[in-house]
């Protein structure tokens, strides 16, 4: 009896061992490393020198533009995504013909899993000098500048993260008990008040999941502002690439990274709180 329990525990340990090692060595330890670095100093020739100081955190305003751009464009981008995504998710979950539903859903999922680099490149191509501006020049609007503007970055954000917003909203709308909608209508509610009081309220966990995921990924975004903002719209991601790969100020970069993670955690907690308070349900699992 005792031996068989030991064998069982040993098997469990063997099954979980590799994954645990992976998580510890490549997630937990690196995170501890940047936390330690963030209270250190920059070595004279770049890199890290041991110290215990909050000077790196006090220095954060030096990258105020990057923080400002990110903190404005991440929520605005997530909101723009949401406004486009909700009607699509609503249509897919409640209006689309049954036999089309899975195909349409697959068409939403596919871009999410294809290279963000290539998809952003596609917009560089469309917005660039030989794309839409050339067409506009053809019909008489000369010198229209589209690429390397905040508008182009916002467009790239909506394009890149739309699938990630549609999916969780779709999942929460699809689970919705349709009898509630009928009951609401039977009790004399207008379509608008049914939508606000029942549909929107019950799909809020999906909305908050999508919003927080998109916003967190945007906080660390690098490709979209680099390729569509052309060095004019700087994000925290750009600051991090610069600090780690060019100017090699690792402690300062670590302080920015830790700040970014803390902001992400706050966003996640806030999203959970809001959806729990309004609809009584927590976030939606995507897988």
């Amino acid at each position: 009896m005792h031996g068989s329990r030991l064998r069982k525990n040993l098997l469990t340990a063997m099954l979980l061992g590799p994954a645990t090692a992976w998580l510890v060595v490549f997630l937990v330890l690196p995170f501890i490393a940047i936390a330690v670095f963030s209270v250190g100093e920059r070595a004279p020739e770049g890199g890290y020198q041991a110290a215990f100081t909050f000077a790196q955190y006090a220095n954060l305003p030096a990258r105020a533009t990057a923080f400002w751009n990110t903190m404005v464009l991440a929520p605005v981008g997530a909101l723009a995504c949401l406004l486009v995504a909700y009607p699509v998710a609503y249509y897919l979950a409640l209006r689309a013909p049954q036999r089309w539903r899975l195909i349409l859903l697959a068409l939403v999922v596919i871009p999410f899993w294809t290279s963000l680099l290539m998809r952003t490149y596609a917009w560089m191509y469309v917005l660039g000098g030989r794309g839409i501006p050339a067409l506009l020049a053809y019909i008489g609007f000369e010198d229209v500048r589209l690429i390397n503007t905040p508008g182009a970055v916002l467009l790239g954000i909506v394009y890149g993260y739309l699938p990630l917003m549609i999916l969780p909203i779709y999942v929460s709308l699809e689970r919705l008990d349709r009898r509630l909608l009928e009951a609401s209508a039977d009790l004399g509610a207008t379509p608008l008040s049914t939508f606000l009081g029942v549909t929107l309220k019950l799909s809020l966990p999906g909305v908050m999941t999508g919003f927080s995921l998109v916003m967190i990924l945007l906080l660390g975004e690098y490709l979209i502002p680099t390729l569509l903002g052309g060095g004019k719209v700087f994000f925290i991601g750009n600051a991090l690439v610069d600090l780690f790969l060019q100017s090699r100020n690792w402690p300062f970069g670590s302080a920015i990274a830790i700040t970014l993670v803390l902001v992400s955690v706050v966003v996640l907690i806030a999203a959970n709180r809001i959806s729990t308070r309004v609809s009584g349900a927590r976030r939606v699992d995507l897988i």
């Binding site: 994954a19 009607p87 939403v108 191509y125 975004e221 390729l227």
Partner: protein
């Protein structure tokens, strides 16, 4: 609303369609389509740097996705056997591995590995008997490990979800009929979770093959296809990049469709 949805789908697919269309353009300019040609594909595949980057990406994606599929599946099976509390800790770590932005994963892995190599390399040199001691450095290994972190978490979640919907009655029936645990696993559990494992592998492969930002930090002297493409894009848009983009897009789409199809296979109906 239907018109809006159609417009959104057009928005999602038109830019990609344009890139694909112009990869077959005979002329050099993006504004006019002057004829059908596959010359840019020929040019792309004759570029030795590009082919090298493509080979690197294929090797890295295959290795990291295989390791992730093995470790992730094992972890999902293991998680079904532990207490609720252990499971919660594990789930939180897996969630973090998926949600933390690639930039942060990239830099923290870079920092930790450089620090680790700084300790290990002098140590190896001091105990090495004679000749050139091995030197650990960033490269294939670090990209595989960093990609594998996300992928392993993904596989664990996908396989875990499938395990959760597994028909318990079949497992009990099997052991009631005196099947050994190994036989039960082989004939009942494995066939039911296999589509999820395959789907997890394909998505992991796609993720690794497409990832730019994590590899950008931990690649060291190596080049992957997205790193190469990113560098070329910054030098200017050329039809050659359209050809590479088309190849990558078509490959990713095929893999994702295959993965989705696997996930829908033999889904237990309840």
């Amino acid at each position: 609303m239907r018109a809006f949805v159609i417009a959104v789908f057009a928005f999602l697919y038109l830019p990609i369609a344009l890139v694909v269309l112009f990869s077959f353009n005979a002329g050099h300019h993006a504004s006019e389509f002057t004829g059908f040609s596959v010359q840019w594909y020929g040019k792309a595949l004759a570029n030795p740097f590009l082919v090298e980057a493509l080979k690197n990406s294929l090797f890295i994606a295959t290795t990291s996705a295989s390791l992730a599929a093995l470790c992730g599946t094992a972890a999902a099976l293991g998680l079904a056997r532990v207490s609720v509390r252990t499971r919660a800790v594990f789930d939180a770590l897996l969630g973090a591995a998926i949600v933390v932005p690639g930039v942060v994963i990239g830099i923290s892995t870079l920092v930790a590995l450089v620090q680790l190599f700084g300790v290990v390399n002098p140590f190896l040199a001091s105990i090495w008997p004679d000749g050139q001691p091995p030197r650990l450095a960033l490269g294939y290994g670090s990209i595989i490990a960093a990609h594998g972190l996300f992928s392993m978490a993904l596989v664990t979640m996908i396989v875990g979800t499938r395990l959760g919907s597994l028909d318990r009655n079949l497992v009990e029936a099997s052991s009631d009929l005196y099947a050994t645990p190994l036989t039960t696993f082989r004939s009942i559990v494995l066939p039911q979770i296999l589509p999820a494992v395959v789907a997890g592998f394909l998505l992991a492969f796609t993720f690794s093959f497409d990832d730019f930002i994590v590899a950008f930090f931990v690649a060291g002297a190596q080049t992957t296809l997205p790193i190469y493409v990113f560098a070329s894009i910054r030098r200017g848009v050329t039809p050659e990049i359209n050809a590479i983009a088309t190849i990558v897009l078509v490959a990713s789409v095929l893999l994702v469709v295959l993965a989705q199809w696997q996930l829908r296979q033999r889904k237990p109906s309840n």
